[in-house]
């Protein structure tokens, strides 16, 4: 198949941190319009995979390739990858005291626009866009002037991540454990937001422990990560099977290979 059809193409990716091999040969292809779920037991390398795609420098890539829109992104800095349209929703969003949500978003959005040779977005347009997206995620008014993630509840932090995603309109969104720490109402709101942002041109990779999120955001593919490799891929049914039977049977299967 023509590789241009793929948005993200990961081939035999191996990565380590401080000498520990975490990813041992990942292969993953994501096309525009698709939703992929990556599941797996603790320590299987799920968060490492998302960090490596986003370009975190602590990880050493030992082998393999990551192509995005038909071009290698291996030599790009994290911000350059972001400018190309890769967004990572953090499992643990970081606090930046004294920097308001609106100021952070403005900086973020305008840096991306600058990279694309565009002028900064006029303040009026920016505010209008913020209001629309806030409505989508049922975010209250005073939110914009709060310090980024400081004193936020778990739900507010995750909602803020999806709010930023909505503002930045990435091509590829990787949601790392976005469901963790969310109560059922917050989960519904966040999932609803993600669903509304989906289009035939963008793609979503959900990293999750639990099937629960997949009831709200229905994946086209489900992959099981174990010991740094994808050991099984399937459809949504695979997620149900995991929910019922746990990971042990897959682990056994994988170890027999």
């Amino acid at each position: 198949m023509d590789k241009q059809l793929y948005m993200l193409k990961i081939n035999n990716l191996k990565a380590s941190i401080e000498g520990n091999k975490i990813l041992t040969g990942i292969n993953l292809d994501v096309k525009p319009g698709e939703v992929h779920a990556i599941m797996g037991p603790n320590g299987s390398g799920k968060s490492t995979l998302s960090s490596v795609i986003a370009g975190r420098e602590e990880y050493e890539v030992e082998d393999g390739t990551i192509d995005f829109d038909g071009e290698s992104i291996m030599d790009l800095s994290p911000e350059e990858r972001a400018h190309k349209g890769i967004f990572l929703s953090f499992q643990y969003p970081i606090e930046i005291p004294g920097v308001s949500v609106s100021n952070f978003l403005k900086t973020s959005l305008n840096e991306s626009r600058k990279a694309q040779g565009l002028e900064p977005m006029p303040a009026g347009d920016l505010l209008k866009m913020m209001r629309e997206k806030m409505e989508l995620l049922e975010i209250k008014k005073g939110f914009l002037s709060r310090s980024l993630n400081q004193g936020f509840s778990g739900g507010e932090k995750k909602r803020n991540e999806i709010f930023q995603m909505a503002m930045l309109e990435p091509k590829l969104a990787i949601l790392d454990e976005t469901d963790s720490g969310l109560d059922i109402d917050a989960l519904r709101i966040v999932a609803n937001g993600v669903n509304k942002l989906k289009s035939k041109d963008n793609a979503t990779v959900l990293i999750t422990h639990y099937q629960r999120l997949l009831d709200y955001i229905v994946p086209d593919f489900v992959h099981v990560l174990y010991n740094g490799r994808i050991v099984k891929s399937g459809t949504k049914d695979l997620a149900h099977e995991l929910e019922e039977k746990g990971y042990d049977w897959i682990i056994k299967e994988a170890e027999q290979l």
Partner: protein, 480 residues
């Protein structure tokens, strides 16, 4: 960050190499300090006898004092006999237009957002080309004059308003206060004087005008500011543009007097030459700043300190009056081998007097930053209140941050709160910003400005914007 910006930042990091050049000074006296030199300075300035006597007394006091060594700073003490104590204002080399200005310096100015007219003044471009701002300055002066506001050099004030100078000079910072204030009192050559009459609200920041005229006031600067009853003034000193000076030692004295119901807001941005990346050279800045608050009056010090090799500075308030208020907001940045020992003293004497201290230290490179603050509640200060917050932000693992809070309370009704935090700019924070498309240098600027927000908010608007940029430039390259 774009390639161009990177180059720019590298250049601004090294721009002191391209500092202003000066013509050979014409009117100087020999090196060294003795009674004759003090007399000579006074006579060159055609001063009245009372001022000469004031200087001589200060000199006698200074001779008996020892240079203090309690601060958390290490430096080679200057040889006080190797300093020239009087030089007529030095003439800067005149340029015919900004095109002749070193392009790197020009870029720094542009990056800081300094207006073209002001750039011309700072760079010493011939005055004929800046008629506009000269007339602006003149109209400023006219407008202030109509309100009875006196705003001039202290030498001029000694001649024109001797009664005011005589009445107030040395009343807040006595000559014997410390080694450097005694030295300053003996040999100060110029500085600024400001008097706001009763009930007058000064309609403008005494800033742009002042910033331009301040250049060349020398190393022993003397400032005296009096806000009479019910008046208000916001005063700005210093400059975000890099200031180069051959004088290694700076020992200024600033005295503020806020009469009943008056308010003084005093903002400083200090960006003297900090020495090179290896800690060679740089200005030693030993400043004594103090204000006295009478009944219901308020003095607010705001400082952004990014320059100097050594900073020793404690802008203070004597809260003499009942219901008086003292505030201190400070950002002190040290990088490379810079050392700063700075903070404040809040001396509560009046009933219901209140003070607030917000200190934000940022240390990078191999620098050392210290906060040193005294909160003193005297017996007479019924119901005094103080809130202090001292935060330090560390960048890298080779710098040091220290906090020395002193609290003395002699009245049981006092309420004192002290909060302190130390934090580091984490790789997590930077990666988070990077992931959102914000490059590392931008990310540091964002994080640092967020950290300093409570202090920067106290600065007049346009100056706050420049100060933000200055912080970013000062810390450039400090996270690998």
């Amino acid at each position: 960050m774009s390639e161009e910006e990177k180059i720019l930042e590298e250049v601004t990091g090294a721009d002191y190499k391209y500092g202003f050049t000066t013509d050979i000074e014409s009117d100087t006296i020999p090196k060294g300090l003795n009674e004759d030199v003090v007399r000579l300075i006074s006579s060159k300035k055609e001063e009245p006898e009372w001022l000469l006597n004031y200087r001589l007394k200060a000199f006698e006091t200074w001779k008996k004092m020892e240079e203090p060594d309690w601060a958390n700073i290490k430096y080679n003490k200057p040889d006080y006999q190797d300093i020239i104590y009087y030089a007529a204002p030095k003439q800067k080399k005149k340029l015919n237009s900004l095109d002749e200005l070193d392009p790197e310096m020009k870029k720094t100015f542009d990056k800081l957002g300094i207006s073209i007219d002001e750039q011309k003044k700072l760079a010493g471009v011939a005055v004929d080309f800046v008629m506009d701002s000269v007339s602006v300055a003149t109209s400023f002066k006219d407008k202030l004059g109509e309100l009875g506001i006196i705003f001039c050099s202290i030498s001029e004030a000694v001649k024109e308003h001797p009664e005011l100078v005589k009445k107030y000079i040395g009343t807040v910072v006595p000559t014997s206060d410390n080694f450097f204030s005694a030295l300053n009192s003996a040999v100060f050559t110029d500085g600024s004087f400001c008097y706001i009459p009763k009930g007058v609200k000064c309609p403008m920041e005494l800033s742009t005008y002042f910033r331009i005229n301040q250049a060349g006031t020398g190393q022993f600067e003397r400032t005296l500011l009096i806000a009479d009853e019910g008046s208000y003034v916001s005063y700005l000193e210093g400059c975000t543009a890099p200031m180069r000076d051959e004088n290694q030692l700076h020992a200024a004295v600033v005295e503020l007097i806020a009469m009943d119901d008056a308010e003084i807001k005093y903002s400083t941005v200090q960006n003297w030459y900090p020495g090179d990346a290896n800690g060679v050279g740089g200005v030693f800045n030993f400043v004594t700043k103090r204000g006295i608050c009478h009944n219901r009056s308020k003095i607010s010090w705001t400082q952004v300190e990014t320059g100097s090799a050594v900073t020793w500075k404690y802008p203070s308030c004597i809260l003499k009056g009942d219901n008086s208020i003292g505030e201190f907001y400070s950002v002190a940045v040290t990088n490379n081998y810079q050392q700063a020992d700075t903070g404040t003293k809040m001396i509560h004497l009046g009933k219901n007097s209140k003070s607030t201290i917000i200190s934000k230290g940022i240390c990078a490179g191999k620098s050392e930053g210290s906060y040193r603050g005294l909160v003193k509640i005297q017996k007479s200060a019924e119901n005094a209140r103080n809130f202090s917050q001292c935060d330090s932000l560390l960048m890298g693992d080779k710098c040091g941050s220290h906090t020395f809070p002193y609290i003395e309370v002699k009245n049981k009704s006092a309420k004192i709160e002290h909060e302190a935090t130390t934090s580091k700019i984490g790789e997590d924070q930077i990666f988070y910003c990077n992931q959102r498309g914000i490059g590392t240098e931008e990310a540091i600027a964002l994080i640092v400005n967020g950290y300093c927000k409570d202090v920067l908010n106290q600065l007049p608007m346009e100056f706050a914007v420049e100060a933000q940029k200055l912080l970013a430039i000062s810390l450039e390259g400090s996270v690998g």
